[in-house]
Each structure stands twice: as C-alpha cells, then as structure tokens.
C-alpha cells in the first residue's frame, strides 16, 4: 500500500512500486544464485536449497524486467548439463546404454520439475507474454535436441530398441520395464519424435521380420498350423503394445502382421492342398475354421474370399449330388443327403463363422442354385415327406417331428417350382389318406400349416379340403350303417370315402366290374348318399380302393389278404373257377390291360405274395397265360398285404405327363397375372410387364419370359390388350 500525504482521500490500491535500489549487478547476482541452484539440482544436491528463496528471486527478476536474461540463462545452463549427460550416455557400453539413458532421463525429469516449480512465475508471465516455450516443454525439447538427436545416440538408441524387440520375438526375455520407460520417453517428447525415432522404423523392421517368417512358415506348415502361428504372433504383438508401447501403435502393428502373415498369403492358405479351407470344411474342423474366420476378418477381402470358396465348394458338391444317377435312384436318400448337407454347413457357420449372415445367405443361394438343377427335386422332397409321414415318425418325439418338418420347409423354400411340389404333394397325400393305414394326423396338419404360412391360403385350401372329405366320409359311413346296418346282416362291409372332385388329384375313371356281392352294396350306398345330397354325382374310383378278404388255401391255411380293389375283383373270380386265362380275366373284370397286368404280376410273381400261380412262370403276362389259386401259398403272417397303392417315384411317361399338366396349369396363371398388372397400370412397356409378372408368380414358379410373351400375344389376339399405335414397346389394357 502506498503511504502518501494524502489525507482523508479514498484509498486507492495501486500496483506495487517497490522503490528498490537499482543495483546494477542485481540481475547478474540473482541469476548466479539461480544458476547455482540449477547446478545443484542437476547434481542431485537439491536438499540444501530453499524453495522459497529461489522462487522469490526468480519472481523478482521477472518483475524487474529481467525475464529474458533468466530465460536465456536457463536455456544455456540446462543445455550444458544435458550435454554432459549425453556424453555419459554415449560412453556407456552395451546393455548399460539403455540403463544410462533411462536413469539420466529420470534425473532430468526430476530436475525439470523442480526448476519448473521455481520458475513458475516466469512461465506464467514472461514466457506467456513473449511467446516463448514454457519451461517444461523447453526441458523436453532441450533433452530431445541435446541427447536424443546426438548422432552417437540417436541411431544407437533406435538399433538397440529394435534389436531387443527382435530378441523378444525370437523367444528371449528382455527387460520390459526398461523398454517401457524408454519408449514412454520418446512418446513424451512428442508424436513426431515417437514416430520418427521409433514407430516408423519399428513397423518397417516388423514388416521385414514377418515377411520372412511368413514365407518360411508357409513352406513348411500346413494351413491349420500356419494359422495358429499367425494368431500367436498377432496376440504377441498386442501384448507387446500393452506392455511397453504406445496404445496408438496397436492398430498399426496389427495391420503389419495381418498384411504380412495373412493378406499376402491369402490365396495360398485358402487353397492349400490337403489342409486348406475346403479340407477343413470336409473334416468339420471347427476350431481351425473359427481361427480362419477370425484372422481373415481382419484383412480386406478376407471374409469374402472364404465365403466364396465355401460357396463354390458347396455348389460343386451340391451339383455332384443332383447329377449323380446313383444318388437319384432313391428319392428319400437324396433328400436326406440334402438335409445332412445343410445341417453340416449350418453347424460350421454357427460354430466357426460366428453366425455371419452373409455366409448364411451365400449358403442359401448355392443351395437354391443346385436344388433347382434337378428338375425332380419338388417330386423327391414330396416323396421324402411322404416317407416320413407314413412310417418314419413313429416313436419320434413331437419336437423332433417339428424339427424335421422345419428342415424340409427350408428345402421347400429353395424350390423355384413350388407349383410342381404342390401337385406331387397332393398326389402323395391322397395315397396316404386313402391307404387305410394310420396317418400321423398332427404331423400332417403341422406341415400344411407351415405351407400355408409360407405360401398363403390358396396353396393349401385344397389340401385341407382333402382332410375335410375324410372326416365327412366317416360321418357319412356311420350314418349309412346306422340306417341300413340291420338290412346288410353278414354281408361284406363297406367303408366309403367320398372325395370332392377338384380337391383331389384328378384320375381318369376306368372300367371295372365289381363282384356281385359288392355291386348291390355299393348301389345301396349310392342311393343313401344321393338321398341326402341330391344334385350330386358319384362315380366309384375303383383304381384307388382297397379290400380285406379272408382266404382259405388248399393246405388248410387261412389268411386275411389286404389287396387293391382290382386285385379283389380278380381273386373273387376264382371262387367260381379253378383256372382262368388272362383273356378271360380281362373280359370278366374289364379292368384296363396295363393295370390288370400290373395287378396280376403283384399276385403271381412276387415272392411272399404269390397267392396265384401263373403258367408259364415268366414275369411277362401273355394273352393266353393261365392263372389259378396257389394252394401251396404260405406266409408266416396271418395278415398279408398285397397292395400297390404306395407312393413311388414316377416312371418316365408319368413324369412327362405331370410336367405337361403343370405347364398347362401355368398358362392361365400367367395370363391372370398379366391382366391384373395391365388392369392396374393401364399402359405399360414390355420389359416392365415381364418383370412384374415374374415377380407376382415367383411364390409359385419361375415364369419364363418367352412363355409370358406367348401369353401376351394370345391376350392381344383375344382383345384383352393391344399394342400402342406409335410406341411398339407399349401395351394398352382394353377394358
């Protein structure tokens, strides 16, 4: 506070103006004091110094405008100490070099801190005002310039550090703590020092190291081993960073390892003979595959490379499967192979490929590709389902049933020609329902529900109609016997299934003369039914029925035979005749010859089912062949089944016929789609019509552009559409 002679004036607080005696040597004296202090600090003799005093002195210097002198002095003093230090370091031998460097660095830092504290005021005012480097930073820069950048030290430091790292990489132990301090020193000196003096050469050396190592390994290791080694190295480097490098280097060094060990050898690894990716897939080596995935995930195009190899291999093996005539002989086996294959790859993708969606998609697309290369896939899948539903699911738990059906649905989804599947499924379902055997109702319903969810109501409405018919028929039967049961007495009993045409697969009706016992019974049923449902027409489907008949053979053997209606008609004739020729049988039954021959063959030429004798004993049936009851027939079973109603793979001509019917069915569907689209758009160009039609029909089948064109022309001819007068590419809707 300034005491002046001013009385009773308000107090003013003014800046301190110390009337100091200006001692011309003041600055020098003060500086020398401080210089001495700095020397002592560097000589580790700081304990005798008074912080207060030194601080005050520095403060005063700056206050009296001697900041510059102080600063310059600091620079030169510090520099000289550092030069001394650097000589010590230079003189250190071998391993001591780093130790020396480390300890001197520690000393310098300690000194710097104390000096900074003492010169704090200078930092805040002079330095700040004249835009000089603050003390701490100055100290670092001076260290950098006078120690690190000294020729004798700079390159030596770099080499030793890299050597040590190399040593560690070859399995030897190094002093990680020391390394950490040295490296930290470099990064404390600034990012450019760290990068120029350490990181860049480190990365380069690492690149060379791994380049050599990878080339060695790849010559002598198999794929799995190599990947293990690569993984190990990668983990090593990550550890190294965490132990003694700057965290920012992690990405850079891992990139180097990834590039040298993986990216540069990607193709060779994947395609390595006997141990590459394909072999691992074949042998289900989940661990190895997982490693593959994780490592290749890190490099550009790594995953896509793996994915493509997996896709092309699965496609290749799939194509082999669908074109192998041996595999195609047994439809159920074929589909089972498909399911097994899918399971295999699903497991690989789950366990090894991290459930990666892009892999799942690639797998699906290759399945879609080869499944549709076999034009019989829809039929075979339906036969597989038929097999499982008929007998395969007994004793299988409910959940397992669901699992199998879901897997089948997966295959179904891949099909392009879903309408073909529908046709076969209908046929096979009809056979299952009418076979008289127990059908697993729950499983059947479950599958139809899945199909409905997938394809919509229309797809399954007819199938559901078939089930309804079965149920209704049971009620009708019960009603019939309730009404007429008494009249019929001991005669043969009838079980009728009334099928609604349109829901069931169409069959051409064939002639067949039923035995007398049955005709009256059938007529009674017919009149009963038409009594309650007038206006309907009933026609007996003799080619789809079964019969249980009791037979007494010459040896006294009694059996109950389950046969088809045709077979029953033939057998009943032998109640009134010992021997009959083929011609006589044909005349009496009026069964179409192809069917009659097949039915006779099944009863005369099959071991265990030969209830008839044929002369001559050949397999072929001739006009004059003679048939008689085989009195010597024997079987260990009382009930013998000689039916021919089981669903089977179609013969060539049958297949051809089904294909034709499918093509015919598609025509109106295509036309309906075209009309729907044109009605909505009114005017549309050719290419868009094609695209839209294909899109609309895709849930059922893949429409062929030529076929669509044909339908368009047909519609033009019938005046549903016309071509635009001026733009030939456009079509117009004609209301």
């Amino acid at each position: 506070m300034n005491c002046s002679n001013q009385k009773k004036r308000s107090f003013n607080i003014e800046a301190f103006k110390h009337k100091v005696v200006v001692d011309p040597n003041y600055a020098d004296k003060t500086w020398r004091l401080l210089e001495h202090a700095i020397d002592e600090i560097y000589n580790k003799n700081a304990s005798g110094l008074s912080f207060e005093e030194l601080y005050r002195n520095a403060y005063n210097m700056v206050l009296h405008k001697y900041g510059e002198k102080l600063y310059t002095g600091l620079v030169s003093t510090m520099t000289s100490h550092l030069v001394t230090m650097s000589r010590c370091i230079e003189n250190a031998h071998g391993e001591m070099f780093l130790e020396e460097l480390n300890s001197k660095w520690a000393d310098h830092n300690k000194a710097l801190q104390m000096i900074r504290d003492i010169l704090m005021y200078m930092d805040r005012s002079y330095v700040h005002g004249s835009q000089k480097t603050p003390v701490h930073e100055l100290g670092l820069n001076l260290w950098r310039d006078n120690v690190i950048y000294v020729t004798g030290i700079q390159s030596r430091l770099q080499n030793i550090v890299l050597q040590l790292i190399h040593k560690e990489r070859t399995g030897q132990i190094i002093n990680q703590g020391l390394m950490r301090n040295i490296i930290k020193m470099l990064s404390d000196l600034g990012p450019s020092v760290y990068q120029v003096n350490f990181e860049r050469p480190f990365l380069e050396a690492s690149g060379d190291f791994y380049s050599i190592e990878s080339r060695e390994f790849i010559e002598c290791c198999d794929c799995g081993d190599y990947l293990q080694k690569a993984e190990r190295r990668l983990n090593e480097e990550i550890d190294r960073v965490s132990h003694y490098l700057d965290a920012k280097s992690e990405v850079k060094i891992t990139n180097v390892v990834e590039k040298e060990m993986i990216a540069n050898h990607m193709t060779r690894l994947v395609h390595m003979e006997d141990s590459g990716l394909v072999n691992m897939i074949i042998d289900d080596k989940y661990e190895d595959l997982k490693r593959f995935y994780n490592l290749f995930h890190r490099v550009p195009n790594g995953l896509s490379t793996i994915r493509e190899v997996m896709m092309s291999y699965s496609r290749e093996t799939g194509m082999q499967l669908v074109t192998d005539p041996e595999k195609l002989k047994d439809p159920v086996e074929f589909v089972q192979c498909l399911l097994n294959k899918k399971d295999k790859y699903d497991k690989i993708i789950t366990l090894a490929f991290n459930n990666d969606k892009s892999f799942q998609n690639a797998l699906n697309s290759s399945f879609e590709f080869f499944i549709n290369r076999n034009p019989r896939s829809p039929e075979f899948i339906s036969l597989f389902v038929d097999d499982k539903l008929r007998k395969g699911l007994k004793g299988v738990g409910e959940d397992d049933v669901e699992v199998v059906l879901d897997k089948v649905m997966m295959m179904f989804r891949f099909l392009h020609e879903k309408d073909v599947f529908e046709k076969y499924y209908k046929q096979h379902l009809a056979k299952r329902l009418l076979s008289g055997k127990d059908v697993s109702d729950d499983a059947e319903r479950s599958l139809i529900l899945k199909l409905k969810t997938e394809c919509g109501y229309q797809f399954t409405s007819k199938l559901e109609g078939m089930f309804t018919d079965m149920k209704t028929s049971q009620d009708t039967n019960d009603g019939f016997y309730l009404k007429h049961g008494a009249d019929l007495g001991d005669g043969p009993s009838l079980v009728v299934q009334v099928l609604t045409t349109g829901s069931w697969p169409t069959q051409p009706s064939a002639t067949c003369n039923l035995p007398a016992e049955l005709t009256s019974l059938c007529d009674k049923f017919r009149s009963y039914y038409l009594g309650t449902h007038s206006g309907r027409r009933l026609s007996w489907q003799t080619n789809m029925g079964t019969a249980d008949i009791k037979a007494n053979f010459g040896t006294g053997q009694k059996h109950e035979l389950t046969v088809s209606t045709y077979q029953m008609c033939v057998l009943m004739l032998f109640n009134n005749a010992e021997r009959l020729t083929y011609k006589e049988l044909e005349q009496a039954t009026e069964i179409p010859s192809l069917d009659l021959k097949r039915c006779l063959q099944s009863m005369a030429c099959v071991k265990g089912k030969n209830v008839l004798k044929k002369e001559p004993m050949s397999k072929d049936i001739g006009e004059d062949d003679v048939f008689s009851v085989n009195d010597k027939f024997s079987s260990k079973f009382f009930k013998v089944r000689i039916g021919t109603v089981v669903a089977q793979k179609e013969t060539e001509p049958e297949k051809h016929e089904t294909r034709q019917r499918v093509e015919e069915d598609r025509k109106p569907q295509i036309e309906a789609a075209i009309v729907r689209i044109m009605k909505a758009r009114r005017v549309l160009d050719h290419n868009n019509v094609i695209t839209e039609v294909i899109k609309q029909l895709q849930p059922r089948f893949l429409a062929n552009p030529s076929e669509i064109k044909k339908r368009i022309e047909s519609l033009i001819e019938r005046d549903f559409l016309e071509r635009d007068g001026s733009d030939r590419k456009l079509y117009q809707y004609l209301a």
């Binding site: 552009p705 030529s706 044909k710 022309e713 071509r723 030939r728 590419k729 079509y731």
Partner: protein, 230 residues
C-alpha cells in the same frame, strides 16, 4: 371377252337404298360427271352377276383378262384396296364406283392405264402400311376369323412383300413351312413381320433384341436363321 348380261333398267333400283351416296356422286360437276358415272356403272354391269348384283370371282377373272393382268397379280389386290373391297373375290357397286372414280377410269382402257399410277401410289411408304394390313384383312373370309393358315400366308407374303424384301420373305416362308409351333398367323404377327423387314438389318440381325416386344414367332425365326447359319 365381255360377259353378256341384260342391262337392268333398275340401275335406279339398286341405288334406291343408297340414294344419298348417289347424290354425292351427282353433286359433282354436272353433265360430264354424270356421264362418267354412267359409264362406270355400265362397266360394272358388264362383269357383274345378275342374281347377286356383285362382281364375283368369275367376273373378276374376266376383268383381269381384259386388263391383261394375271388374277393373282398384286395389282388386283391394289385395286381392291383402292375400292376398300370387303369381301375377297367380290366387288360391290359401291366399291367399284369408289375405286374407279378415284382412278378417273370409266373404260377398260383407262383403267388399264391407271394401274401403274396406282402401283406407285400404293408403294408410297405412308400408304404401304395401310395396304399391307388391308391385304391381311382381305383374306379373312369367315366372320370372326382372326388368323390365316400358313399356306395362304406364305402366298400372301410373296405377293405383297416379295418384290420389296425378297430375301427376308424367302427365309421367313421357309421357316414357316418347316416349323410346327404355329398353324396360323394373326394380324399382330403379320404387322410385326413388316416392321421387322423395315427395321432389322439383314442378314445379320445385329440390331434384333428378343427381349423387346417383338412377337414370339419372330424370336423363334431369328433363332432358326442363326442356327442355320452356324
């Protein structure tokens, strides 16, 4: 040789049903016009069939021989076009009048002289499309008929396009005769072929794109030619 026929005094009676048309005719330039019309009518009756009142195929044959033109010549077809004749092989009085008036021909000699000019007129690109489509319709003999059998189409193609696009027609006729997919050709396909000849480079078909809206039969034709060439 002219066919003798009793001239019906009821030339008036045939026109009683379309008197307005007659008026139109007469509304022209008086006596000279009337004279011309009379001569046209007379010419008609010299070829027409008494009972039907039309020139029938037999009459047309005579006409052709008088004109010194084969009755399968395309110029007769052009004449029919000029008349806008509806029924193949028959000309009605209306049609006859229409055609000959337009050609300014009231005698056989004049008619004959008018034929080359008629040809030129038809061959003008703007008219030719119309003529081409007329030719197809002219061959539809039954009511509700929409297509023509392959045999007839081949002949018609020769007749109508044979001079203009001989190579295309030759190849296409060959194709039509060997393929089994199509038994008849409809108007859309007929017109399509004409555009095809005009737009598509031949014989390489380089600018043909079967993904465009060309009729399917032409897609098949191009495939057939290409497979023949290789």
């Amino acid at each position: 040789m002219r066919r003798a026929s009793s001239k019906k005094a009821s030339s008036n009676s045939t026109t009683s049903t379309n008197s307005s048309a007659m008026d139109l005719f007469r509304s022209a330039t008086g006596k000279a016009a009337t004279k011309e019309l009379e001569r046209i009518d007379q010419l008609f009756y010299s070829y027409s069939n008494e009972s039907s009142g039309m020139i029938d195929p037999e009459g047309i044959e005579y006409l052709c021989s008088d004109l010194e033109v084969e009755h399968t010549d395309v110029r007769i077809l052009m004449l029919a076009w000029k008349m806008q004749a509806e029924k193949q092989g028959y000309f009605t009085l209306e049609e006859w009048r229409k055609g000959l008036k337009a050609l300014h021909a009231d005698t056989i000699v004049k008619l004959k002289k008018a034929l080359p000019e008629l040809e030129n007129e038809v061959r003008r690109p703007s008219n030719y499309v119309e003529f081409y489509s007329y030719a197809f319709r002219y061959c539809l003999t039954e009511e509700k008929q929409k297509s023509i059998d392959i045999e007839s189409i081949c002949e018609l193609l020769e007749l109508v396009l044979g001079s203009q696009f001989p190579q295309q027609v030759d190849l296409f006729v060959q194709y039509l005769k060997t393929q089994v997919d199509y038994k008849v050709i409809n108007m859309d396909q007929w017109m399509g072929f004409y555009r095809f000849c005009n737009e598509i480079s031949f014989p390489d078909f380089n600018n043909y794109d079967e993904e465009l809206a060309w009729p399917l039969i032409l897609d098949n034709f191009v495939d057939w030619v290409k497979s023949k060439q290789s």
